[in-house]
Amino acid sequence: MIFNSIEFFIFLLIVYFLYWFVFKKSLKTQNILILVSSYLFYGWWDWRFLSLILLSTIVDYLVAIQINGNDNQRTRKSWLWVSVIFNVGLLGFFKYYNFFVDSWVDMVSVLGYDIKSTWTLKVILPVGISFYTFQTMSYSFDVYYKKLKPTTDFLSFAAFVSFFPQLVAGPIERASNLLSQILKVRKFDYRQAVDGIKLILWGLFKKIVIADSLAPMVDDIFANYSTYPASTLILGVTLFSFQVYGDFSGYSDIAIGTAKLFGVELTSNFKFPQFSRNVAEYWQRWHVSLSTWFRHYVYIPLGGSRTSKLKSVRNIAIVFLISGFWHGANWTFIFWGAFHALAFIPVFLMGRNTIYKDSVVAENTMFPTLTEVGQVLLTFGIVTFSRIFFRSESITVAFEFINKIFTNFSYETYHHPMGYRMIDYYVLIFLFVLYEYLIRRDERSPFKFKSRIVRFIIYTIVILCLLLFYDSGFDRSFIYFQF
């Protein structure tokens, strides 16, 4: 059941009705409803993997109680390791097992031994495993670091782990934010519900109009990169930049908007990363919940930046490499992470990694300065270049793609694989960037205009665009579901 499907729409209506009208009076029954509907939502893909969520929930629920109940630091740590080993073990088996086997076979063959691997397994990757394992682990970490008291309410904890709006692709919530809301009585708030609907609309726009409409071109260019000139390859990776942003931030907006309908506030996951002025700012704006997770549970425990420069650089490199690996069991993602580490470290060494933390481009003016324009374009260029690794099938393909850009520079007009007018898409991207620039100060209010008429016209244009770019024959699942 994906957000942009009729099944989800009907499911949402039913759950919403039951939540606010039937189970309104009891927090417990509301949480049971969240749990049941979340399991139903997840089971729609493959009910067999519900057991993994349940196991992960039970383990971290018990681990947290054990950690909290022990004063002995060594015992506490041992319990924390139980959580880490279990969750990372789950990920390791379902997501990385074949990667490790294949890599080992490749490494051995480089050394001259030709072995035929019989160890690889036909393992299906459970949807959202990287997200919910990280979420449950964060709970155990927070209890371990004494930032949180564990809950004894198993049902509420299970609802926190499986909360359907953010179950399969985040935002990865910390218990201090989401669990605390699930444990409290939620009241219907008109303003919150309206904001939720607006975010859902904007998320659908980003997913259907931006991501899905660009996908055929990106797929075509990456599949046939060897036949295209450099200009087309650059176009392909640039379009992919917009596609992946539209897809993932669209999903996050729908998730946040849906949660709002149930009186729950999720953390922001995207803050207009395309207007970042350096790579460090980009990581404060792109997939924020994952960056925050790595900062809190990997970077800071390693010493963060409160250590020698050399160690800090090491810590940054570790975080980016793990982050890359988190995205997928492929060397392409590790290279992608390494590339970002290389782009981030100079910014860190120059002490510019936090200078844009609390500001946006053209903070107090309508137009950005020329310097800002240059910074934004450079950052966008770096990030877009890194996406060659992110999108390519293999590391060999990624390097061939890059090689073709640099060694065979020529221009040729690109034609849409289905023959559609390309100008439609260029205009669409231009207007999209322009509109996001106008709303860049608040990622949670995409229609923040004073005039009701202006707002209404924008709603209708957004919905019209949904129709103009809707493709009934297109596979509409989300890119980040594979992670």
Partner: protein, 319 residues
């Protein structure tokens, strides 16, 4: 909560109205001409209608149609006589040509290639051979004056029946309910771009009794089934020819031999039926002959067909 529902209701209505306005102003969806069955039992368009045919979400193909006095899409009126040379094109939506401006139709392209000849287009979406021969027999006086009659035929679509009946499924589209629905351009647009496919699919899934998937056929079974239908279609062809007759001196088929089974081509050859085959010409074309958004011939495709027909007529005249 009441306020939320009230506002959602109001906004939904206003948004639907705004979308209806946008779709009408930007002409995002097609017009539907009215169809009827005339006094001779021939289904065709109600005479003297004008409108636009639109394909794709973003008006990727946009053309104008004009239904003439006779009830077919054409820039000219039909007045056959002994003094002139006329060519009739009879067929389905490919001949009808709603996908191209009526003033640049297949008939017009043929006329441009054959000076002084008049081309009458009897194209109607869904016409099969039974419809075509029934039309010719009902208007036999007019058709007797026409010098060449080209019948567009696609074996797998146009020979599914061996006798003529009015197709009620098409005429249902003229019921008051359908007519009323077609007035809502937003609905027409949503339906045409496939937005309604998902809810329709869901409803049919919910209410469908068929739970089992159709079993996959083996290649042998598929071949057997194909042969059976080919034989049946050929029998239908023979039956229609027996019923309506076929003037081999004036009538000629227009077909794609690549899409036509050998059994039918052999039958045509053995019985001296003439046909114009556009398969080779389409294959040789450097530009695509088919529209991007549907399977109909584009401008290039129509030019190729026009060229073939014009050459055929020239050849026939010289004989």
């Amino acid at each position: 909560m009441k306020k939320l529902f009230f506002k959602i209701f109001i906004y939904s209505i206003l948004i639907l109205l705004a979308l209806e306005v946008y779709i009408r102003v930007f002409h995002l969806t097609k017009d539907y001409p009215v169809r009827y069955v005339d006094e001779f039992g021939v289904e065709k368009w109600l005479p003297n209608q004008d409108g636009f045919s639109v394909t794709g979400n973003r008006r990727q193909n946009f053309s104008e149609y004009h239904i003439n006095n006779f009830g077919y899409n054409s820039y000219r009126e039909y007045n056959p006589s002994k003094d002139k040379i006329e060519i009739a094109l009879v067929g389905d939506s490919f001949i009808e040509g709603f996908h191209q401006n009526y003033y640049n139709s297949l008939g017009k392209k043929i006329e441009d290639r054959l000076e002084g000849k008049e081309v009458y287009e009897f194209g109607y979406a869904g016409y099969d051979l039974a419809d075509q021969l029934h039309l010719i027999s009902q208007y036999k006086e007019q058709f007797a004056l026409i010098d060449y009659v080209i019948l567009g035929i696609k074996f797998e679509n146009d020979l599914t029946r061996g006798e003529y009946n009015i197709v009620q499924k098409r005429m249902v589209l003229e019921s008051p309910l359908y007519k009323a629905i077609r007035q809502i351009k937003l609905f027409v647009y949503l339906n045409n771009i496939g937005v309604l496919d998902a809810p329709k699919g869901l409803v049919s899934k919910l209410f469908s009794n068929e739970k089992k998937e159709t079993p996959k056929l083996t290649k042998l079974e598929e071949d057997k089934r194909r042969k059976e239908s080919e034989t049946k279609y050929l029998d239908n062809f023979k039956s229609l020819i027996n019923t309506y007759g076929f003037d081999k001196t004036r009538f000629v088929f227009l077909l794609d031999s690549e899409e036509t089974p050998e059994i039918f081509l052999n039958h045509l050859n053995e019985n001296n039926y003439k046909y114009i085959d556009f398969s080779e010409a389409f294959k040789k074309s450097k530009k695509p002959p088919i529209l991007i958004y549907d399977m109909h011939w584009n401008n290039n495709g129509r030019s190729i067909i026009a060229e073939l027909i014009a050459n055929y007529i020239k050849e026939m005249k010289s004989i």
